[in-house]
Symmetry: C2
Subunit: 119 residues, 2 copies
């Protein structure tokens, strides 16, 4: 599968709300996930659990994913606009992020999330 094919499938599935299907299908076993503060989580199961834990803290209304955009032979970027209500505060907000993904052998080996403030 080409980088382009994988990245377009990534965006299509995320725009259908199938983010966890994407993680299970496309993450490499030894993926490294880097949050905005620089904290790294290593390994497919640990990274999926991180997202599951995050999702427990919000009511999720939907998302718009833009891109994919490409750089070099094995990286793509997408934009996320996540429409959520934080369960703690009850406040509804749109969280904007940029995700940068590195792909090797048809699997995502690294993801970096860029955002401003708490997410």
């Amino acid at each position: 599968m080409s980088l382009q094919t994988l990245a377009k499938e990534f965006v299509n599935l995320c725009n259908q709300g199938k983010n966890f299907d994407v993680m299970r299908a496309m993450y490499a076993p030894d993926i490294v996930s880097v949050e905005g503060d620089g904290k790294e989580t290593v390994g497919k199961e640990a990274v999926i659990k991180k997202s599951e834990d995050w999702a427990k803290g919000v009511d999720f209304h939907g998302e718009k994913v833009g891109g994919p955009f490409f750089n070099g032979p094995n990286q793509f970027a997408v934009t996320f606009a996540l429409d959520v209500t934080r369960k703690g505060s009850g406040k509804r907000m749109t969280l904007e992020e940029v995700g940068v993904y590195t792909v090797k052998g048809d699997k995502i080996t690294r993801e970096q999330f860029f955002y401003d403030g708490d997410h």
Copy 2:
């Protein structure tokens, strides 16, 4: 200057169309600029000339720059929507890009542009 201060100034100036002022003020002498196809240009003057050459091929109507978004101690990302008419074809279009910037010592040492297709 903090990463946040530099990145916010970057976005403010670009949203005023002052992209070349940003390059002259914020690029490190040995900056590396990576285009979507992976091609690298090295050195502040060469990178500014690359942008000048690109700008000669378009009529520039304006741009919207989103962000900044942050990852770790020394990287930020922005989104670009460039409203241009290509001089060759006369076709007006919005070019969407993601830029990822690495900052060391108050200067941008690396930039990576992510996009889809010719730019």
